[in-house]
Subunit: 280 residues, 2 copies
Amino acid sequence: MYKTLSGKEPSAGVLESSKRIVANMKRKPHLVIVLVGSDPASEVYVRKKIEKAQAVGIRASLEKLENEANESDVLKLVEKLNKDKDVDGFIVQSPLPPQIDQMKVTEAIDPKKDVDGWTSTNIGRMILGMSETFLPATPIGIMKMLEYYGVEIAGKNVVVVGRGNVVGKPLSYLMLAKDATVTICHSRTKNLKQHTQNADILIAAAGRARLITAEHVKEGAYVIDVGTSKLGDKIVGDVDFENVIKKAHCSPVPGGVGPMTVSMLISNVIEAAIRKGENR
Amino acid sequence: MYKTLSGKEPSAGVLESSKRIVANMKRKPHLVIVLVGSDPASEVYVRKKIEKAQAVGIRASLEKLENEANESDVLKLVEKLNKDKDVDGFIVQSPLPPQIDQMKVTEAIDPKKDVDGWTSTNIGRMILGMSETFLPATPIGIMKMLEYYGVEIAGKNVVVVGRGNVVGKPLSYLMLAKDATVTICHSRTKNLKQHTQNADILIAAAGRARLITAEHVKEGAYVIDVGTSKLGDKIVGDVDFENVIKKAHCSPVPGGVGPMTVSMLISNVIEAAIRKGENR
């Protein structure tokens, strides 16, 4: 039988070690989350992040802006948080309302406080293998999860389905840095199956409900599902879990990558606080 | 018979259009090349860059430092060039002598003048698809060359052999942005052939003499050779050209990618000057 790659245990492990680190810090790290509008899913994510951050001893606070906020309101708040010496790291929860340019907001964040690791500066530093960066939470969460389950990466064929800035692109580079042979597929890929059937590790990050079926998957592969779509009133991933699990190890949705993302964000906040301390 | 993908004609085309643009500029763009030490190959490359830049009407000058120069000498010069308002763009010719940290020097360059496109800021901007960046000369030169030969990229299988910061990594992203399905192979890849045989477009950028033989290549593929190694007193590429050309379209070494690199560098210098003008 194949393993269900739950994110709960590895995530709990990361949070435990974060808790121990924070317990030894005189000044507790401070995370701020900016939430614009009242998207119900975003409110759930934000609440989870704040709860888990507080559970490890981090100060976590919320800055809310109305749905009608304009870009300059958000940019002003970003500027304020950049300057605030008591803020170690902050994130602007996505998606933003349509009147606001997501990239412009991201680029305004001080890379030293960019704990999502989404600014061009931090992405560039990651690509070049520099240490002074924050690795984006979901990709590094996937790497930690595979490490937890003892999955070897060097020399393996890794296929990433999806080429977004948040998961597909950065994850491809983290896999490459661990000596995987990496293939990046996407909506314009012809004959997706031909590529995915060759994967020792398959990452589904396309955001298309149940795109990956059993016939896409090699027997005994490791399949990580990063998708979350609504199908009726059910949350489903990019992978047809029920059938794929009969053939390969697979992470569930929910309860797979999600918890890892939150834990890695918290690790980044602690790292930001430690670096700030070093620079004093 | 298969095409020899010479870089001379497409490179001449790029230079021609650069020349026309510069002819219409009141203030001629100014490129500075920093050369540390007296590596003979570097001296040849630098001379070529200066000659071609001058031929299109750009001012190009050389700043030479002794082989014994230390890191702070180089960093001081970089700082001076960053501040010099008459310098539109500059590059530090690699390789640098061993006592100097290449990455530290690159990161010191003002991204607005980084016409090699090697700073983390410009790499990150490229990855995120932002316009305010300089695309690294060799990768964008390869894209232009394929365009010149009418090679379709969208939906094709592109295999890049080599994962360096100068070619492999940035080129993978440019290919992805053009809707290719991209596989990145390297020294730790198992069964290289299995991947390369599947390539519609194969990029050899591993720096290993004649690594790619006819049996690595699919009939009718496009093969671009980015390698230059010394074999005896001959300069050879990563591709066994004589045999591969019987089976696939292939770029030669020398006379393939090399001339494209110089032309694209010059395009970047002109672009830097135009952007500076706009910002006045």
